[in-house]
Each structure stands twice: as structure tokens, then as C-alpha cells.
């Protein structure tokens, strides 16, 4: 976080609930965080902790007839949640864009790569057909796809997973967005391609002032790319810290557990990999008190009764844990 700089995106008390036949599920429950211009923020947590729903809520991509969103999403002085649908549509893909997890399914199989990239260019930049096509070729070049003039006319099935993710990145970058939500951009790719995509994203970021919210459960990716990390558990923020501090001095037992469960390449073969016991609680039947207490190795009596409030150590550091008041 840069001192004195106003945040580009400021999420305050975001609460997203889904109305299902079994009852109302609150997937995101009072999430707050800021994203500053030019920074990469890691949003970390297990599957089902509400990371992706947070991103989809910000972009208002959830079906409004089945969800309710409360709170504030301030972007560039405007609350995105109170914009009318048409204004919101122009923000999507223009100033805020998104990279999805599944490069194999996130491109339309019957449109060429060029058609898909030029679609948002024509919409947001008001480019003509020919200009948009030329810009699409340029974008493919920027994301380092070999022979872009040929690839631009090809259908997605002719491209490998890594290439498709590059195309998705090209689409997300095409209108010079100020903020990109990258929802597990490397999860579906194999390790060598993952490294390439991360290096590509880092390289592209250097040349622009775009902020990235990197949604992932891969702490390795976070360590490499993010400057600040927000850890989520069961729909809430449990810890926030600058990346180096998080890796050296995690304060929440959940974050500690996550860090311990990262396998070490070439580590001691005889020791078992650490795991966090149990599974993420069912959002319909959330445990009383701290939602992590049934899985926590340091549970106290109070954890079972009351949910801990957020303790701010300084502007960059906060933890929601009863233990955090002690110097542990």
C-alpha cells in the first residue's frame, strides 16, 4: 500500500447472499478491503470461502433474482452497487475486467480469437471492425503469442490451454482497464505454463498502472506476484498483511495452517504434509462463534461463543482472531 494514496477500489461491508431452496446462504459476509492503484492484491482462501463471489459481486455478475448484495463497492468515487445496469455494463470490460479460471471453456468455441478480442474493443473503445481487428493482433503480440496475424483468425479449439489463457489476458487488457480480477488464472494450467503466465502478467503489469486482484489458493503464486494479501475464510476476511510479513509472521491460525500445508520441493520425505483438519463449514449451518473454531488447534472457550472482531495492528495489518490480542 502506498502512503497517502487514495484507494482505487474500496469494498466496505460487502455481504452477498444466495437464496436457495434450502435457505439463504451468505457466501460473503461483511468483507472489507481496499485496492490501490498499480498494486497486486492477493485474495487467498480455500475453495468455497467466497473469493470468487466477492469478485462477481463487485462486477455485479450474479443473477439478481437469486442474490442480494449489501454494502458498498466504491470504485473511482462511485458506488458500483448503486449504478444503473447500463452504467455498470460499460464499466465491465472497460475499466474493470476479469480473467477466468478455465481457459478451456472461457472462449466461445464458434468465434475466432480475433472476433472475441475485438468484441470488447468495438464496444468500449468504439473502434471500427478493421481497427479492432488490428488492435486484436497487437494484443496477441503483447501477450506473446507467436505469429499473431495467423492466430487471430483461428478458433479456440486450435489453441492449447496456455495460449487460450494468453488470449483471455489479451481480452482483459484490450481496453486498458484500471483493475483486473484474475480469478485463479493459473489453476487449470500445468506447472511450466503457470510460470509463463505469471511471468507474463508481471511483465505486463510493469508497463501499466493497472491494479490486479489475484484470486487464488496457490500461495506460491501469491508470493511471486502480490504485494499485499487478504486471507478469507467462510465468507469473511480473517487476516490481511503485506506479503513478506504474511509469510514470516502469520497471525491467524488459519493462515498459519495454510502456510504449513504448502509442500516443499525436495523437503524431508519422511514427514507428512501438514493439513488443516476438517472441511470448510456448510454455509447453511455456520458454527457459532468463530467460524474456524471447529478446525482450529488453538481453540479457546470464547471462540465457541463469540465471533472475534477485526483487530488492526497498523494500516496494513489486521487479524480477526481472539488470540491476536496476545503477543503470540
Amino acid at each position: 500500500m502506498k502512503a497517502g494514496m487514495a484507494p482505487l477500489l474500496s469494498i466496505v461491508g460487502l455481504k452477498t447472499s444466495f437464496h436457495t431452496l434450502d435457505g439463504t446462504i451468505t457466501a460473503v459476509n461483511g468483507v472489507d478491503f481496499d485496492v490501490y492503484p498499480g498494486e497486486t492484491l492477493g485474495l487467498v482462501g480455500e475453495s468455497g470461502c467466497g473469493k470468487s463471489v466477492t469478485a462477481l459481486s463487485v462486477l455485479r455478475l450474479l443473477n439478481p433474482s437469486m442474490t442480494t448484495i449489501h454494502g458498498q463497492v466504491n470504485f473511482d468515487g462511485k458506488n458500483l452497487l448503486s449504478l444503473d445496469p447500463e452504467e455498470m455494463r460499460m464499466i465491465r470490460g472497460g475499466t474493470i475486467s476479469m480473467i477466468f479460471q478455465e481457459p478451456m471453456t472461457s472462449l466461445n468455441p464458434i468465434l475466432t480469437v480475433g472476433e472475441q478480442i475485438s468484441e470488447s474493443l468495438r464496444l468500449h473503445e468504439k473502434l471500427g471492425r478493421k481497427k479492432a481487428w488490428e488492435k486484436a493482433i497487437q494484443m496477441l503480440e503483447i501477450v506473446q503469442i507467436p505469429s499473431p496475424e495467423l492466430r487471430v483468425g483461428e478458433y479456440p479449439h486450435k489453441l492449447s490451454g496456455g495460449m487460450r489463457q494468453r488470449v483471455m489476458i489479451a481480452m482483459a487488457l484490450s481496453c486498458n482497464p484500471r483493475l483486473i480480477f484474475a480469478d485463479e488464472p493459473t489453476t487449470a494450467l500445468d506447472v511450466t505454463i503457470q510460470a509463463q503466465i505469471i511471468r507474463l502478467l508481471e511483465h505486463l503489469k510493469k508497463g501499466s498502472n493497472t491494479s490486479i486482484v489475484l484470486i487464488t489458493h496457490d500461495l506460491g503464486v501469491v508470493a511471486q506476484m502480490a504485494s499485499r494479501v487478504v486471507v478469507m475464510y467462510a465468507g469473511r476476511v480473517v487476516e490481511e498483511a503485506p506479503v513478506v510479513e504474511l509469510f514470516h509472521d502469520a497471525r491467524h491460525p488459519y493462515t498459519k495452517g495454510l502456510l504449513k500445508s504448502v509442500p516443499v520441493l525436495g523437503g524431508d520425505k519422511k514427514t507428512r504434509l501438514n493439513e488443516i483438519p476438517g472441511i470448510v463449514p456448510n454455509l447453511l449451518h455456520m458454527p457459532k462463534g468463530c467460524s474456524f473454531h471447529p478446525r482450529c488447534s488453538m481453540t479457546m472457550d470464547i471462540c465457541k461463543k463469540e465471533s472475534p472482531s477485526m483487530i488492526h495492528f497498523n494500516k496494513n495489518r489486521r487479524v480477526a482472531c481472539w488470540l491476536a490480542t496476545d503477543d503470540f
Partner: protein, 298 residues
């Protein structure tokens, strides 16, 4: 930067080049399907008859020749004559124009209203979908032919009204089909990605969803043409379809009913014409379905 380039060339340029797109694989499968091929050939003959009727049959198919009435097949009248001495061959050839017109018109009405309504119903969901689906339920509660019959009773007889009536009875089938397909495609990540990049709903529906639900629509169109011909013949047979003297297969059958025992050829040939036309559309439709069904891997 440099090492990214090197990696790109080494690992990431592995395009899966020669895997063909699903639609061209579908066509290849279709060509291998013998039944569909036969259906296609019949259909071709049928279309040639319809367009080439004036060339294939010189003369007026409605001109009576009372001296030769109810004549069995002979050199002058290859398929014999009907009760007014009109050439059955000529009437079948000209009748193919009428039935093709009906088939195309009916499916046109079905597509024109059913596809957009189905797209809207499936894409937007919610109350819009609920209202449209209850309306569809209402139309589907009637057997198709009965609905067409009731509509003819309201609109009156004639070619145009036959097309409109049968067309309306087909609309709910298209609505249901398209809506069902849209519900699946709507959840695809590429549709969400299109929404995430600010694409307009209209654009998403026309460019991202419609092309991906075309295959089942094509199949239904082919099968629907067969049904339309059959329905039109049914209405004609009952005397409330296309009116004489316009040569129409169903009304030919209707008037031949009286001579069924003594002069069976009068009813047989139009019957065979209806049978082959419907068969050709059904065989082709089945073939198309097998070819484009993602579950069939042959």
C-alpha cells in the same frame, strides 16, 4: 522478457491443430449415415419435382379430361387419372410445390416466433420465463393436430391459413427446445466472460448463444417439415386445408376415398408421395440429430 519468448516458442505453441471443429465432424458423420443419405436423396428428388414441375409435366394439372376419368396407369397418364380425368402424376408434381411451400412456411412461422421467444425465455429467466412457459404449457396441452384444426376453424380454409394454423401449433415446440438449450449454454463460462467484458444482452444472445444452439434447431426444422406435410395432408383430407382445384396431396387422398375399392391407384400414388416426402425429412432429421448430438461418438 527474453526467457518468456523462448518458453513461448518451446512449450506453448503446441496448437492442437488438426482436430476438426465439431460442426465439420458432424457433416462427416452425416455423410456416413446411409439412412440420412437416402433421406437426402429423396428430399433432393422432391425439391427437383417441386421446382421443376412445369418442365416435368407439360399441361395444366387441373384440366379435366372426363372421358378418361379414373383411368388406370397407361402410356398417356403414367400414374392414371382421378375422378375428373386429371393426371395424377401432374397433380402429384404440382402438389409437391404446395406441400413444400407449406413445409417451409410452417417451419418459418415456428422459427420466426419460437426461436426469439425461446431465446428470451431461457436467457432472462425469472418472471418473463415463467409467463412464457405457462403460455407454452397451454398450447402444448392440445395435441398438435387438434390445435391446428381448431385454428383453421377460427381462421378459415386456404393455403395461407393452413400455414398459419400449423405454424402456430409448432411454435411451442420451438420455444421449449430453444429455451432448454439456452439454459445449458447460458451457464457456459464464455457467456459469463462475455458479460464480464460488458457485452450487451442482445449481442450475447445473438452472437454467443444462438450459434451454439443452432444444431438442435436445424434437426427440429427437418423433422418439423415432415410433420407439417403430414398435418397439411390431414387437413386437406378432411377438406379444410388447401382447397381444390389447387393440387394438394391430402385433398387428393380425400377425394380418392370414394373409389378406394374399385380404383385403388387414385389413392395409392398421392399416399406414396406423402409417405416419401415425410420419410425423407424424418430420415434426414434423424441423421442430423445423430450427427450433431455430442453424446454420440460414432
Amino acid at each position: 522478457m527474453n526467457d518468456i519468448d523462448i518458453n513461448t516458442k518451446n512449450n506453448d505453441s503446441d496448437s492442437v491443430g488438426d482436430i476438426d471443429s465439431s460442426s465439420s465432424r458432424g457433416w462427416a458423420k452425416l455423410k456416413r449415415n446411409k439412412a440420412a443419405l437416402v433421406g437426402g436423396i429423396f428430399l433432393l428428388i422432391y425439391i427437383v419435382c417441386a421446382f421443376g414441375a412445369p418442365v416435368l409435366f407439360w399441361g395444366n394439372p387441373s384440366a379435366p379430361d372426363l372421358i378418361n376419368s379414373l383411368s388406370p396407369p397407361c402410356a398417356k397418364y403414367l400414374l392414371g387419372t382421378d375422378e375428373l380425368g386429371r393426371s395424377i402424376l401432374g397433380r402429384i408434381l404440382y402438389g409437391s410445390r404446395v406441400s413444400l411451400m407449406i413445409a417451409v412456411g410452417v417451419v418459418g412461422v415456428g422459427l420466426l416466433f419460437g426461436v426469439p421467444v425461446g431465446l428470451i425465455s431461457g436467457y432472462f429467466g425469472g418472471k418473463t420465463d415463467f409467463i412464457i412457459q405457462r403460455f407454452t404449457d397451454m398450447l402444448l396441452a392440445f395435441p398438435g393436430f387438434l390445435l391446428a384444426l381448431a385454428l383453421v376453424a377460427i381462421l378459415g380454409v386456404g393455403l395461407k391459413n393452413t400455414v398459419i394454423s400449423i405454424g402456430i401449433s409448432m411454435i411451442p415446440i420451438y420455444i421449449r427446445l430453444v429455451r432448454g438449450c439456452v439454459l445449458t449454454v447460458r451457464e457456459e463460462v464464455y457467456v459469463e466472460a462475455a458479460r464480464a467484458s460488458g457485452t450487451k444482452d442482445r449481442h450475447i444472445i445473438l452472437r454467443h448463444i444462438l450459434p451454439n444452439v443452432l444444431a438442435p434447431i436445424i434437426v427440429q426444422t427437418s423433422l418439423g417439415m415432415g410433420t407439417a406435410i403430414l398435418f397439411a395432408a390431414g387437413l386437406g383430407f378432411l377438406g379444410i386445408g388447401v382447397q381444390p382445384p389447387t393440387p394438394e396431396w391430402g385433398s387428393m387422398l380425400g377425394s380418392a376415398r370414394a373409389y378406394m375399392m374399385g380404383k385403388p391407384h387414385v389413392a395409392t400414388f398421392p399416399g406414396i408421395a406423402i409417405f416419401l416426402a415425410v420419410l425423407s425429412f424424418n430420415l434426414l432429421g434423424d441423421g442430423l440429430r445423430d450427427a450433431f448430438d455430442p453424446r454420440s461418438k460414432i
